[in-house]
Subunit: 433 residues, 2 copies
């Protein structure tokens, strides 16, 4: 069984990589196509020049904290630095104000983006061949890729009409019965990639209960939490966590820009009530960080630090225009879909309450070949959900990213996509005759 598991995992890993390469290649092959494929943040709100101009603000703060002059602080900033980072207290403050996540600086590890934080957590939590990370199916490819690279098995969690917690409990029991150790649950509670869903307060509380019972650490990816379209989003799992089960991951790739490559992991005070275990986990994560990339670029940290100081530790005002843009785009997308498809066509979609993504169901299979055909003949690129599938399922679904497009592009793109869908439906009907 272990061999089959490893083999399946290997194959899925290879197909995932192939999938990503194909996607990039399709993008290049059809440069004039409107693309709903990539989940990049909107470039309209990037202001790198301004963000770089705040470096001296952080330098002054660093000099103050270290009791040195500014020239020395500037030199230290260009030098090697602490593995754990140098903006931990600023980040901790921001997480509290903006995301409602309580963090003390000693529990924050600054990483080269959220991807590194995630990869390090998986490696530290799952060192044994029996250790398994559970993830909702479909899930973010970066999670499955990081697990594959570290030789960690990902157990797919299909809800199939159950609540998240009920499905999770069954999965944890099933894995344990197979001699596997479910050690981590990867979850994006807020506006997840790829589905664009959000967990209810009840779901969150119930998930924490199951995780505490089975001692499964929750790796909560908070990447999209700043981009809620409502004011009353439920608290993060990390905020609700009373047992010490949640490691919270955050990033400045979406609030500032991806080129900054600064993210973080927040380790709980005690891991399931065990303070020593939490400290050991922090040391383990730091060790892997140090021997992976030494430390996160202090230049990049200075940019984040400078912006945080300038913005008084909250990025709410700064991301406001971007958030409105994403909401407008969500509205434009849902409106375009509603106009394009009638209720009897077998096409349905969710209503994302935040984030960058919408999931759409089709009445036919849509994979790589269909993506290519759609790009070539209809000049629109959408992402097959199979790319995010942990088991080859999701064959009739697509992910639509609405973050880095204009409302005009969205309207035109959906017009083109609906023409493609209609053509396929007609074709299938003809074939069936």
């Amino acid at each position: 069984l272990a061999e089959v598991w490893a083999l399946t995992k290997g194959l899925l890993g290879a197909s995932r990589i192939a999938g990503l390469n194909i996607l990039a290649e399709v993008g290049f092959s059809y440069p004039k196509a409107i693309s709903f494929a990539g989940g990049q943040p909107s470039e309209t709100f990037f202001d790198l020049e301004y963000w770089l101009s705040t470096i001296p603000v952080f330098q002054r703060e660093l000099a103050k904290v270290r009791g040195s002059d500014e020239a020395t602080a500037a030199q230290q900033l260009a030098q090697y630095g602490y593995v754990k980072g140098i903006i931990n207290s600023l980040v901790a403050e921001q997480l509290g104000i903006d995301l409602g996540v309580t963090a003390t600086p000693d529990r924050v590890v600054i990483t080269s983006g959220c991807q590194e934080a995630m990869a390090l957590c998986l490696q530290a939590l799952c060192p044994d061949p029996r250790d398994v990370v559970i993830a909702r199916n479909p899930t973010y490819v970066g999670l499955t890729g990081a697990a594959d690279c570290a030789g960690i098995a990902v157990a797919p969690l299909d809800l199939e009409g159950l609540t998240f917690a009920t499905a999770l409990r069954a999965k944890a029991a099933e894995l344990a019965a197979q001699g596997k150790r479910p050690r981590a649950l990867y979850v994006i509670a807020d506006f997840d990639n790829p589905l664009g869903g959000v967990l209810t307060l009840e779901d969150r509380a119930a998930i924490l209960e199951v995780c505490a019972q089975f001692k499964i650490a929750v790796v909560e990816d908070g990447t999209y939490r700043m981009f809620s379209f409502d004011e009353n989003a439920p608290p993060a799992l990390a905020t609700l966590d009373k047992e010490g089960s949640v490691i919270f991951l955050s990033t400045y790739s979406k609030t500032l820009c991806p080129s900054i490559r600064v993210g973080c992991a927040v380790i709980p005070v005690s891991l399931f009530g065990d303070v020593a275990a939490s400290r050991a986990l922090t040391v383990d994560i730091c060790m892997r960080k140090g021997f992976g990339t030494l430390n996160t670029s202090q230049l990049n940290q200075a940019v984040v630090g400078g912006v945080l100081l300038t913005e008084r530790m909250s990025l709410k005002m700064l991301v406001q225009p971007a958030r409105e843009h994403y909401r407008r785009n969500r509205d434009a997308l849902v409106k375009a879909l509603s106009s394009a498809f009638t209720s009897d066509e077998g096409v349905s979609w969710n209503y994302p309450q935040g984030g960058f993504f919408l999931a759409l169901d089709l009445p036919f299979a849509f994979g790589e070949a269909q993506m290519r055909r759609c790009a070539a003949d209809y000049n629109v690129i959408v992402m097959p959900m199979t790319f995010f599938s942990l088991d080859g399922s999701q064959s009739t679904r697509v992910r639509l990213a609405f973050s880095n497009l204009t409302t005009e592009e969205i309207a035109e793109g959906i017009k083109r996509f609906s023409a493609y869908v209609r053509k396929c439906v007609q074709q299938n009907a003809t074939d069936a005759v």
Copy 2:
């Protein structure tokens, strides 16, 4: 045997981490001590403000290459980017001009510093539990740490009077006989950390022969190659390589500054004559890079790219003052040692022809306790070579880093250290009576 191996490795890993933590802690505990411990580049020559000012130069180049306007290029620069990097052609040119290493852009993978390049190469080259990386004993802790984190065994190579190649051939045969697979050799040919040695041309040629015979990939760390104190340093292993056995690693941490966190790996055209194997290795390294840190910060890449364009693809002029500083410091250190110790005291050292480090032999054991005593009572910190040992050997050696000190500090530091040494020798003589 496998278990003993794993256990030893684990223990050494733990002690190495502990060693690094202790070192940092000692540095903090004795802030007034002169420290020969850390191998940081000299801060005197950092010019981050100027380097940052070259970003627009790279932006213009990017716009030209992509046929876009500068505003678009600026936005793309702030966005996610290619896993492999965006300054590959500039880096390839610089490696050829400055280091004599021929590289084409497609064979260059840009990484978050040399440490990441090294960790990725190890993981890609040694995926099987039987796979082993060979390293000269003592060796750079970053190598052993990265191997430990990935669960890869490091086989220590002790020369014991043999040539490097002869010892390597014996070790490769020994490992093969044990059912292990020596897959990689980690080597710093030029002014290595921690010994400050340099391999002769004969050594280099003979090593390549052994590696070709056993199909051992050479991971050549070129970190210190720009800091030769002579004009006639032998060519890099990568330059001499005819069989396709060398992956060359480089970094801008020492030529520019560590805060830049940009390094690279150059994959050979064909791996031991196999072009497909080389391509597969490149894909594997890129996959691990992508799922580890997505891509190297394009902001940081733009800084390196801007400087390279401004300096016409060569950093020789730019590092000239730093190189002279390091040479002056080497001279000051050797002079101070020669004045401090007479030839009959049992203290000896090498004469580094480049780089940041000198190795010194003592007539008594020098470990953590001695380091602390020396720091507390004599206000000077030196690094026990045991920290770099793969097997607990090297107990009477220390590493002296002369890179980030003034000549005055070096003179005073060695005065203090020699007083400590003399005291220890006297103490030992008294104890022996």
